[in-house]
Amino acid sequence: MSQEVKIISKRFDDPKAATLDGYLASGGFQALEKALTMAPEAIIDEVKKSNLRGRGGAGFPTGMKWSFVPKQSERPKYVLCNADESEPGTCKDRLILQYDPFSLIEGMIIAGKAIDSHQGYVFIRGEYRYLFDIMERAINEAYRAGYLGKNIRGSGLDFDLYAHSGAGAYECGEESALMESLEGKRGIPRLKPPFPAISGLYGGPTVINNMETLATVPHIIVGGGEWYANLGVPKNGGTRLFCLSGHVARPGVYELPLGVPFPRLLEVGGGVANGKKLKAVVPGGSSTPMFTAEEAMGLNMDYDSIAKAGSFLGSGGVVILDENTCMVKFALRIMQFYRHESCGWCVPCREGTNWLHLALGRFHAGGGREGDVDLLREVSENILGRTFCPLGDAAAMPTLSILKRFRQEFLDHLAGKPCSCGVSGRPALATH
């Protein structure tokens, strides 16, 4: 029934793959052997050919990102893996860490070879302690077997890799904030330019990629860029992990080719739970503008199609909302999150998310006033595009999409109609 294509998830059912032996038995480190014989430019070309795009959120072409790193540098270069998976609706990197940690190690060594870097860090969110432990074990095993450290497998290539734990901050998923955090500071984003490829960790040229992106690299090296590109649609190479959650019959993480039509994706998840009707869809994590059911059913799940429709494929977190979902409450919960996660550095994000959270809470609890809907929109618009980093946009965009697409629901609240909360039946007023 499914269109599932198991590439990145091919070892998810193999309990032994998280050990070095198991990994080698399932074809692990073949890509590295091959990459060790390739010139750095050839590796980057192969990744460019694959049309691999960042799986973290922005969808930037990976090969191009790597090619921005200068060949010569006075400071050491770094390869960073962003495993700070925190975008609500996203739970895929967890599986790679759990079932296939060596594929990440392999991908990072290859990235190191491509940009002439000899040191990498895997930044894992603090809550994922058991995954941090798995990653550390895998790294230690790789060191012992000569896949990390000096002169890897006799090739002359040196690469050191360490796991690094965060301690609870969504903002550290932003690449420069992650670097600040990795330098032992508050995760406040940096001014750009300079961009990480020129001046990143410790001021050295740095490649930073999402975990899934890096774990995909070995597959591309083995299968070839063209093979990978052809799995997807033009400019959107390969497959990706879609995290289906919410009101879906079989929530789960499914690997599907880019460009898969949304109805097919929904079908893989068994359709809307309990035979209810689809109301709305979050296409790529909580920060992405939402679609109505009608819009969603006409979508293809690739970066460009979704962008054309006004949203983002983001981190692959697809959240399904059924007909009983209260959109006011949904907007409120999203804003509770962004208010909690705003680092507080800049004014519009710090004060704007707080304002919206308070106003949405009052509104949902029945304290709405004439003009509130426009006020909510205007406040969101005043955050949009005016903040120091994309977190402000992440808060404003979904809110604006909900206000626009479900305005009537807000007006109904205002008119005192019963709230359609089918989930808890009570307003979710934040108490803190």
Binding site: R125, H164, V319
Partner: protein
Amino acid sequence: MSVFSQATQERFQTLLSHYPVKRSALVPMLLFAQDELGYLPPEAIREVGELVGASELAVREVIGYYSMLRLEPAGKYHVQVCTNISCMLRGGDDIYRHCKERLGIGHKEVAADGVFSLEEVECIGACSWAPALQVNYDFHQELTPEKVDEILRDYRKKAAAR
């Protein structure tokens, strides 16, 4: 005199060796320090700060930023219930309310006997297995109120056994 066990001190030393700059070890060190002490008392802040060459103020700035780090003790078992969107859509609020009722405490409160503390947390990356909670670092997913009762019972037993 260190406030940390030998094992934790060794862990610190290993961590410090991972970075070209000592300060980089600060965030994970604080988390490991907290794992051992339950929170970050002033002595721990001073000691960790000295190890990485950061002032007490700099360490406090960092602690204040990260939601997992705390200056006050939590319960032996810190129950963290996710109510973010994916969990909310599958009854996360009910689970949270259930925990509040069962434990008799609210957000960021510690039960009188110190066994449990409770926190409503943001997305913990269990969206496809919602609703979910974490007790310390252990995930518990696809919850129902009944399952929560079982989980809490198990931890209470564990606490009594010690």
